[in-house]
Every structure is written in structure tokens, then in C-alpha cells.
């Protein structure tokens, strides 16, 4: 496994992630328009549209129940997960290269990302 090989794997992963996330958001969007198209859209004041799922658990439960807004949020969550997965793949790559220095550096970055997602899960 060379650095270039790691990067090529990552690039393919990132593209797939964006395509899948985009497709989920699009599908959720069409469904959302069909279900809520005639409602009023008011985003002038923050908090006025507070019907969005915020927590990973809410999003997943809502998407399984096929609520259109939750399906869009699931696409967003997949998109956020894509770069995080990218760092995880780099970690595997550096481990295979037995590059301890960069295993440490990559683990720190991954830890920070997981922390930010997890603190969100706790509602923090």
C-alpha cells in the first residue's frame, strides 16, 4: 500500500459517498415536495422551522419511517460521514504501511471527528 494507492482508494470512496448522499437527498427532496409542497416556507427567523431532526438517532428512526424530512437529513448525515470514513481509510492505510507516526496523527483526527459527531448525538 503506497500513499498514492491510499489516495486513489479515498478518491473513489469520496465520489461514491457524494453520489449516494446526493441520491438520498434528491429522493427525499422529491418526496418532501410531494408531501409538503403546499405548506409555507419561512426561513426568515431562526427557529421558525424547528421541525428538523437534529440527532443521529432521530434521523435514522425518521428515515426508516419514511418521513420525507428525515430522509433528506439521512442524506446529509451520509455526506458528513464520507470525509470521516476517508480518515478511517487513511488510518487503515497507514497501519498497513506500519507508519506509527501517521497512525497516531490520523487517529487524533479521527477521534476529533467522532467526538464532534458523538457530542451532537448527546445533544450537546
Amino acid at each position: 500500500m503506497t500513499d498514492l494507492k491510499i489516495e486513489q482508494t479515498i478518491a473513489a470512496l469520496l465520489r461514491t459517498g457524494v453520489l449516494v448522499a446526493g441520491a438520498v437527498v434528491l429522493a427525499g427532496g422529491v418526496y418532501y415536495l410531494a408531501a409538503h409542497g403546499m405548506e409555507t416556507a419561512d426561513y426568515r427567523k431562526f427557529g421558525a422551522q424547528s421541525n428538523a431532526d437534529r440527532l443521529v438517532q432521530q434521523i435514522v428512526t425518521g428515515a426508516i419511517a419514511l418521513r420525507p424530512r428525515s430522509v433528506i437529513q439521512l442524506g446529509v448525515l451520509l455526506l458528513i460521514a464520507t470525509p470521516i470514513l476517508r480518515v478511517a481509510v487513511s488510518l487503515i492505510g497507514f497501519t498497513l504501511e506500519r507508519d506509527r507516526q501517521y497512525v497516531t496523527i490520523t487517529a487524533i483526527v479521527l477521534g476529533l471527528l467522532v467526538y464532534s459527531l458523538a457530542s451532537g448525538m448527546a445533544g450537546g
Binding site: R15, L33, A41, R44, S70, Q73, I80
Partner: protein, 278 residues
């Protein structure tokens, strides 16, 4: 306005912003936010949440092209991502506490800086100082293929670059933008890394930085599906179209024209912030 009217309008505006962002090299996020707030009256916080999500999409989508060129340096990127990620988390936490009018003013200033940077001829970072021993220890030095010639480079001022990256991450988290122009300054001007390597590495870092702060914004309700959907799809489509046109259009001229437009938008953003109209 009904949802069925709002979504196509926001999609169209985001498409245009993504297209311009890609042509000017500013990125779609930094353009879509003022368009949403100034022209469509969207609350800055909803705009920031939506723009941040679109930043992850465009940066991840463009990564393949950068890797194909072989310019990006994964070690430099990963090492500095420690700084940008911590910065992004600080910025996002700060952003949820700072008054919206102040955010608008900072946004306008950063927009002005980006527009200025996009139109000024690139000047090579000073490499008068010797290569940083820290760069050697972290094995950041590398080489790239410049028009058929393999050029090797050494990294300078690692600590300064690391500090600047913290700042770039904080701005990215605070304003929901990719802050690619600040990242390139850190890589290219401070660390003396060749421009092509700097831009490619910066693109690779943007998605990770944005993912850190997007998690915070998602949990705080800044990411609203009704607005994020048209913005993300619009910016993504717009920047893909822009990338296709990039080779065929007189980019230098376009950049100058659009920089003036972006400069005017930036001033409006500052004015709106000062008058408390955001």
C-alpha cells in the same frame, strides 16, 4: 411563499452560486450564504448550515480530479487536519453563541479578502528561510510532477502553518465556509509549499474540516432539510458545470468581473450586519 415555490428559487440561486464559486475558485459556500441571506431573506444561521453541507459535497466530489493529478500530499493534509479540526470545533461552538450581526460583518470581511486574493497574481511564498527540521521529522517533504519534470519540495515554517490552519478551521466552523483561500495562504505563503500542491492538499482538507463543524451545526438545528436540500443539490450541480466550463472560458477576465460583484456583495453583507438587518 410555499415550499413548492421556495425550493426551485433556492435551487436556482445555489446553482448559480456553485457555478460562480467554481469559476472564480472561491468555492460555492462563500457565495451561496450571502445570496440566501441578502436576496432571499433567509436567516444567516440556516444559510450557514446549508452552505456547510454543500462545502462537504463539492470538496469530496472534486477530490478525484485532484488525486488523478497527483499533487496532493496526504501527510501534510493529515497532520494539519489536527489544527483545522480543532479550529472548526472551536469556530462552530463560537458561532452558535456570537450575535448574528457580528457573524455577518466577519463574513463580509472574509468575503472581501477572498475576492481580493482570487484576482491578484499568485506570488511564490518566500523560501529564504531554511527548510524546517520539524517537516523533516514529520516526513512532510515530497515531490510532484510539474509538466513532466519531477520537482521535489521541502516544507518551511511548520509551526506557523499549523497555527494559521487553526485559524482557517475556526473561520470555516464559524461561518460555514470551506475557507480554501485561507488554507492555501497557510500552505503556500507560510510553509512555502508549491502552489499546485497547496491547492490540491487544501481541497482534500476542506471536507474533513467541514464535517467536524457540520456535526455541531446539525445537532443545533442549523441544518434544515427544506433549505439544505435545494442548496446542496444546486451548489453541487453548479460547481460540476463550472468545472466543465473552466477550461473553455477566459478565466482571468471572469475572475476580475466576478471579484467586483463579490466585493459589492461583501460590502452589503457588512452593511446589513452593522444595521442589524440580518
Amino acid at each position: 411563499m410555499t415550499v413548492a415555490e421556495f425550493v426551485p428559487i433556492v435551487f436556482g440561486a445555489s446553482l448559480a452560486a456553485g457555478f460562480l464559486g467554481s469559476l472564480t475558485g472561491l468555492g460555492g459556500g462563500v457565495i451561496v450564504t450571502p445570496v440566501l441571506t441578502l436576496f432571499l431573506g433567509v436567516d444567516l444561521r440556516y444559510a450557514i448550515g446549508a452552505s456547510l453541507v454543500s462545502v462537504i459535497a463539492t470538496s469530496s466530489g472534486a477530490a478525484a480530479a485532484y488525486v488523478r493529478d497527483g499533487y496532493s500530499n496526504i501527510r501534510i493534509g493529515m497532520f494539519l487536519e489536527i489544527a483545522t479540526t480543532v479550529g472548526a470545533l472551536c469556530g462552530a461552538f463560537l458561532g452558535t453563541r456570537v450575535p448574528v450581526s457580528a457573524l455577518g460583518i466577519v463574513f463580509g470581511l472574509i468575503l472581501l479578502q477572498s475576492a481580493w486574493q482570487a484576482t491578484h497574481e499568485h506570488q511564490r511564498g518566500k523560501t529564504a528561510v531554511p527548510p524546517d527540521p520539524l517537516g523533516e521529522r514529520l516526513r512532510l517533504n515530497g515531490s510532484y510532477n510539474d509538466n513532466g519534470v519531477q520537482e521535489s519540495y521541502a516544507v518551511h515554517r511548520v509551526k506557523a502553518g499549523f497555527g494559521l490552519m487553526f485559524g482557517a478551521g475556526a473561520i470555516s466552523g464559524l461561518l460555514g465556509i470551506g475557507s480554501g483561500s485561507l488554507k492555501v495562504i497557510a500552505l503556500d505563503q507560510a510553509m512555502g509549499i508549491p502552489f499546485k500542491v497547496s491547492t490540491a492538499t487544501s481541497n482534500f482538507m476542506i471536507g474533513v474540516t467541514a464535517a467536524a463543524s457540520a456535526s455541531v451545526y446539525l445537532s443545533r438545528g442549523y441544518v434544515n432539510p427544506g433549505i439544505v436540500m435545494p442548496v446542496m443539490l444546486g451548489v453541487l450541480a453548479g460547481s460540476m458545470i463550472g468545472a466543465k466550463f473552466l477550461a473553455r472560458l477566459p478565466v482571468v477576465l471572469l475572475r476580475r468581473v466576478f471579484a467586483v460583484v463579490v466585493g459589492v456583495i461583501a460590502l452589503q453583507m457588512i452593511a446589513a450586519g452593522v444595521r442589524g438587518k440580518l
